[in-house]
Symmetry: C2
Subunit: 137 residues, 2 copies
């Protein structure tokens, strides 16, 4: 349980430390993979209404406490992040692993974009097959 840690993070960010927020955030901190809204809802049970979970996750994301992640499933996921990384998602079983490639980061830091665009963020997700799904077929 990451209740105390969650509370501290909220207070430090100037956000009201309500039970709903504490539960949502500590759930995300404890998670081993990016969680969908439904995942979070299942974990927090009736301690937070679904609409509140949506609002909370969005608020935590805009406070940069969580990252909103998109595995192109038609819904978003949220992840508590300290370091910046990307993901590789198995398209067969859904397994997720974290990916860090320094060359990649170096380039992403200064991608050349024409027309005077200034890039503030990027989304990169990798899709493929995990080791065991490759063997299966």
């Amino acid at each position: 349980m990451q209740i105390i840690r969650a509370k501290k993070i909220l207070v430090n960010s100037g956000l009201e430390a309500t039970p709903a927020r504490i539960n949502v955030l500590s759930t995300c901190i404890s998670a081993t993979r990016p969680l969908s809204v439904a995942d979070v809802a299942a974990k927090v049970g009736s301690t937070a209404h679904l609409a509140t979970i949506y609002r909370t996750l969005e608020k935590l994301a805009s406070a940069n406490i969580l990252t909103r992640i998109d595995f192109q499933e038609g819904k978003f996921r949220y992840e508590y992040v300290s370091d910046h990384h990307h993901h590789a998602v198995c398209e067969s079983c859904g397994k997720v692993i974290e990916v860090q490639d320094k060359r990649l980061e170096a380039i992403m830091e200064n991608v050349k974009v024409g027309s005077g665009f200034s890039i503030t963020r990027h989304a990169l997700e990798l899709f493929g097959l995990c080791h065991s799904c490759q063997k299966k077929g």
Copy 2:
């Protein structure tokens, strides 16, 4: 209008060249930016039912005639592509420019992923502000 071209592409790919498909595909070919399903629907009017447009776009995407693109808007877009490229999206006005960075491509071709993962595709989108929106504030 890209009617004839659309028809040829469909036939070459072994897909039935129905009016709905020809209209949907020629709309995508003519587009200057990735289109949402609603965008396509607006262009083709009553020549194809919305459900048909969904089915058609999905079919064209799995035939690699179109690419399904995700700008994290809660919906997908589709683009007719010959060459592989990425996009930079202005988060203020929605302007989209195409991005090609050879270093990026080179690295994406062989990203090192642990655990025996094999990568079959990747999604990379850049977000920021276009030149004119930067000036506006």
